[in-house]
Symmetry: D2
Subunit: 372 residues, 4 copies
């Protein structure tokens, strides 16, 4: 997650990109569909999704540049698990999601051509001293590490394991070094075959906080600004596949403000049009953002409001929100009060899931016997 020192990595909290940008391909796909005004397919995008016992699984492949442009995401494979009930802290559900995540992640590695015996380097991104950003380091702490056993006593390693190393490199503000520089150096010396990078994301929607897991083979890609090339964690830069696992843990406060502004405006529209607006924060209402927008720009509404509400375009709204939040700096986040506990739960889920997926000898029944 972007911290003060790391804003250059251009990751998430950027007022200017509202309302279109999201870190989640699943969300981008919904928004793109609605923008097209139909429920049909988007050229260049392949999507496969299904719901099972409260877990929505979707596989999205962005096949070409056209699809990439439509979704505002890099070409590649995206796996998303959405589990609205995950925040209930029901440990049976957590185990079920962990098992599901483990299976799907194994399949993901096959799909992107990672060899079953590939040597893995797990990278926990983020700042361990900032609760909402500590997901990556937390996963690394609970990951089963085996590479040194293969190096030091290869004869004694039992079958069913592969070499796994793990590191939490810290963030620019605490190390003074780009994370990618550190990882590049480590990769050159230790020669893994694939990197799995875990990061906490800032979500567009509160409903996704600690309920959604995204896996992507595109790595971690900062904005396209000057000098950003050396800041990426991807195959181009590192020469090996980089699988990114991201979980939204916070929402930027500007999002709340933006959504509220939209909702108020839509409400005023409704007053005139007698149509019910959609709550942009409602997790059950995937069409929300787009519908809201369509309502706002409905020509008849603009007329009705004598040009006043209607003239409030995106740029003006952005300016308005900027004025509201500007005195307070850019680092305001919205979290559930119990964020400490949620990060622990999600971190354990991902770590256990990876341990099961990476080692044939480890499964949901014995995983807790392998780590502590």
């Amino acid at each position: 997650m972007a911290d003060n020192g790391q804003q250059e990595q251009g990751k998430k909290l950027d007022l200017g990109r509202f309302p279109v940008r999201t870190d989640l391909a699943r969300e981008a796909h919904d928004m793109a569909l609605q923008e097209r005004g139909d429920q049909g397919e988007i050229p260049g995008i392949q999507i496969d999704e299904y719901e099972e016992h409260g877990i929505m699984t979707s596989w999205i492949r962005i096949q070409d540049d056209h699809g990439a442009q439509e979704l505002g995401k890099q070409p590649g494979l995206y796996l998303t698990l959405e589990v609205p009930d995950l925040r209930s802290q029901d440990s049976k559900l957590q185990k079920r999601v962990m098992t599901k995540f483990s299976h799907e992640f194994e399949r993901f590695m096959r799909e992107v051509g990672v060899d079953p015996n590939a040597r893995v380097l797990i990278v926990g991104l983020g700042n361990r001293n900032v609760t909402a950003d500590a997901l990556g380091p937390f996963v690394v702490k609970h990951t089963m590490v085996t590479r040194h056993l293969f190096e030091l006593m290869p004869d004694q390693v039992e079958a069913g394991y592969r070499p796994v190393a793990a590191i939490s490199p810290g963030v620019l503000g605490t190390t003074g070094m780009e994370t990618s520089e550190i990882i590049f150096g480590v990769v050159e010396k230790t020669r893994p075959d694939v990197i799995i990078a875990i990061d906490a994301l800032a979500s567009r929607a509160l409903s996704r906080v600690n309920t959604t897991i995204q896996v992507a083979d595109t790595g971690i890609n900062p904005g396209s600004g000057v000098g950003n090339k050396r800041k990426a964690l991807n195959r181009d830069f590192l020469g090996i596949p980089v699988i990114a696992i991201g979980i939204p843990t916070v929402v930027d406060a500007t999002t709340i403000a933006y959504d509220t502004a939209n909702f108020v405006l839509a409400h005023l529209n409704r007053e005139m049009n007698q149509t019910k607006p959609t709550n942009p924060l409602d997790p059950l209402n995937r069409a929300s953002v787009k519908e809201l927008q369509s309502q706002e720009i409905a020509p008849e509404a603009r007329q009705h409001m004598m040009g006043i509400v209607g003239t409030l375009g995106d740029a003006e709204k952005r300016q308005l929100i900027h004025e509201v939040l500007e005195p307070l700096g850019q680092n305001l986040i919205v979290t559930p009060k119990e964020v400490d506990a949620f990060i622990g739960d999600m971190g354990k889920l991902v770590a256990d899931g990876l341990n099961c997926a990476l080692h044939e000898a480890v499964n949901p029944e014995n995983v807790s016997a392998h780590v502590n």
Copy 2:
């Protein structure tokens, strides 16, 4: 701070009380003044305030029931330090504020008649496992405790100290017991002369988060619901004076939504009236909330907006915000991302300040030699 289990203590996060309720007398005073439409005095309220090197100090005495009603706060003495720059983490400023707080707190104890040798029990309210709520336990951890020395080896205690005990009782959700029950029992057995209770507050304004310290002799008072009497930490219940120290550490997410809604409406008004609205979150603009309200309810504005914006009364706004945030539960908070560090800084400041104020032999120069 209210947690799930402790909502009954009725402390802070209550949608219904918007927009009038605040935990801070200083804020309530400003709002009351503006409601009266003048800058004169409010009967029953005595106020004395001054600014010095970036620290705004105010003493407010609510003298009678009339004043209490005007401010919505209990009669008593309120001391407030406001230091907008405190969030810059400048340790020189922190030491200056600590010294100031220590002096003013000493004076506060004299004003409310606490004997210089009074035996003190410091109570750290809040949940140590929830970062934003851990201020009280953090202060207790860094408090100099001496009571046992007076009890066990009274002859060996040097001059310049007084008996101080300290406890972090936990919260209802983690102990299963009302905090006041625990403290009542401890008071009966250990017989302190005065209680100092430290608590993290939910603020009305983001600008106050980790920049404002309030001291009050009214103790901790939950709402006036059934059975709430035994939940209070005050002189009525405990039989000894209770001095409450409160610091805003979070803002309820509903506040952001509420302020944004108001700002959008005011903006629409401005579009029609060509008057500049006031940013309700701007820390430099104390008149904000009231002005905003007066703008909203300006009759000419209502007419201009053809009854549409204008008819959006408080109840309707509350309903609107409820609809926006409802899917997400009531426990959403807004904090700076660096909340972990801020809680540490403010907790150390209060602990050191108390150590200096309570023991004649301790001063800002030697305080760090007394604790660790």
Copy 3:
């Protein structure tokens, strides 16, 4: 565990009491048997023990003052689980021990006449900021707390639960108050039927560290010094049964020194007598301490050594060890380097075991769904 400020509670680290004193009845029983020179029964002591899948369970009842004097422990019921392999951090074994502990603890409560619906107060003794002493607070943190639900919404509590409250009162050095004063006050206000107190012990034997759990109905009893009465946590003082759960987490450094000295002397004896001494630290060798002593004081050995080794009596050895360790203060402990992880494992085991034992609706399969 005794800390600087709490040495008056006279708990454990007392050079003078070597070699006879131990906190564990199981250990005291072995020593007493050997002192008597036979393997028969000790009048006033009832013992029942059996081993099952690596868990040694023993029930000892000290029936009268004679038995109490023989063992140096108060009359009462003592349950001990000994699991040498527990330190291997095998989570399957941990779950098995947790289940066993849960069953035996339930039986223990029945044996001492605690009603199945008795209201429970769990007390986590020790200092949360000292790793080796943090067991009690750790257990409290992972305990299921329900009392407030019974108080606030009795109609909504499902069957299968009972009212449980929990508190970590801190230690004398951090609160300035005797733990027993705090608990006495809390008991008077909240009226539990029984107290369960968890404490980290200093062990006599390294082999017991984090491998032994003792349950006793005698509560926590400091030495018999002046003013110690008000420091006890027992039925006499509090008026309700107090069940103490103790786990050795450290060994006093003096123990290592003492055992080494004994072993060296025994070795010299062996050189002369050609008999093999017993390693006092060997977990498999229960007879160790006594045998060692008998060897030391064997008259023929004394003669052989020309009165030199032989004249080294207990008092002299104590003096010797005092000279070795004196420059370093009394607070030296011996722990496994991984003490942080062990405390977490044992704390989770006890917390889960209590949650299962106290609530009919909770069992080893669903316990993790009840807490987090």
Copy 4:
């Protein structure tokens, strides 16, 4: 500090090397002097030492292979601060030692030819999740990091600072990678001019725990076993100077046993010879170990004891201690109970001292304003 997985780095806990090996040149020098039986100079060793207000400062230069062999340490420059009172947690003394350390460290860098503007990489060795081993990561956390500012906005960096980066790479057991591999990679990518590596040491003497700081230009050097070359953190391996800062935080439990055994034997000697043995753990008695040994092997003593005590040679003692401690594994450490607090104090001292030494603009008066 060596952990399970890192034992290959051969650092400290090695029963076989008793009694001669120590990580501290200061200690090795005393032992060597005594072995020579005189108080004169050792060829190849230059030593300069002085005491000032409770701080003993010594500079030792091992000039050639002869000196290296005498001391069992690599040729190079060793600075040692010894402050017996440091464990009293007097924060005034801490500040004084920090200031002294800062000055001496600056001089050390000049002596070993590090340029005043050299770009620095601080490496915090050790495992952050093991209290006694967390010193290095703790220092890194409190270190002022500036390199990214020089990289990203060189024009805005004020005078008086230099580029400093910092990393806590973890340990072999938690990363699966040799620390030196990680650091090598990072050095190649980020091109620092000098490395400062901080590590917790296992001390030979309890009196040194948290009271001694050693600085050496020899880096971190594991034993000379096969494959150990790539495990070193030194100039040979990394191509840039490596300054190692080490602080003893624990004593291996075998040390206590060994010292006790020696003391008992010496006591028996005394019984026969009427000479007073020296306490090997006494911090005021530097000659201890050697004297003890000379007493043990005094031929007349051997005769007196009829060959019994006397025949107990080093190998036999080692065997004896092995038998005593063997059942317990090798990872037993002895620490003060308050180890958590001591690590915090020493870590802060070193971090502040480095911040002052590395940046001209930072001094003991303003250092706390630079970090948090």
